[in-house]
Symmetry: C2
Subunit: 156 residues, 2 copies
Amino acid sequence: MCEGLRARGFRLTPQRLAIVHLFSRDGSHPTAHDLFARLRPAFPTMSFATVYNTLDALAQAGLSSSLRLGALSGLAAATRFDPNTEPHHHAVCDRCGVVVDLPVDSLAAPQVDARKVRTQSQGFRVRTVETIYRGTCAGCRSRPSLPPLPNVTPEA
Amino acid sequence: MCEGLRARGFRLTPQRLAIVHLFSRDGSHPTAHDLFARLRPAFPTMSFATVYNTLDALAQAGLSSSLRLGALSGLAAATRFDPNTEPHHHAVCDRCGVVVDLPVDSLAAPQVDARKVRTQSQGFRVRTVETIYRGTCAGCRSRPSLPPLPNVTPEA
DNA sequence: ATGAGTGCAAATGCTTTGCATCCTG
DNA sequence: CAGGATGCAAAGCATTTGCACTCAT
């Protein structure tokens, strides 16, 4: 992932290396705050600007994408970031907020070649397709009642 | 739509009637600010709280849904609201931000019964499916270069 | 009349920005 | 050693909330 940044002309600072190291192995779709919180111990002077800046650099290099899933209750909806560059869907748990990646063939309705489809009556040229499945994850289903629901990002 | 609100026990105030009247005929997926701006001339004292409150009431009555599509550039991503309660997809133009509804059968990949599918390895029980096609709309494709791109909500 | 709804303003939370300083390439 | 990157704090926005007042039912 670092090579990708370097190839694009981005400088590899210690902060970026740390962010990339953490983010690239993180399948939890962390928010900028999540990453920031985990980096602060090692980089007490780290700022949000740097986290966002690096995430943006990764996006420019095609090494990450962002997800806006909306809030669960009245909380503000933070952008979540995803290092998975393979085509995939997302499943979001309504209760605990966990987000899991789904390979494109794991459901009955694959998104296949819709990318090139030009939607008939509207003249749209489609470039990307994004499918979100909302429901309840296994953990929350087996749990008796709905727990207090902390601030997203479970099983961190 | 008003009946739906009344049936749910919501009071029909002049403000709500105006919001519902405007919103129910609006296929542009307006933001709260869009509606507010169009209502202010007739209701100089209208507040955002009332707009959000009414949109929330409509959502509770199952008469509208919300869309979080993310910002086009660095702007904050406003929630867009949709009075269309039929199952449908959304196509979003990367350039001008326009959002159009797509009937479920207008593309090769229908979302059909995925609602009841339990995604294999993850144990998720899926309740809703949401598909977003991103690309370029007919108008922007025919336009020579990329125009300055004002603050979303084109052809209002 | 009674409590849901309204309006206002302040608060909240995420994200961006300006600018002086730092440090990678 | 030049310009991209960082850190800090303040600014921006969308959205929510508290509270006193109003009005639909």
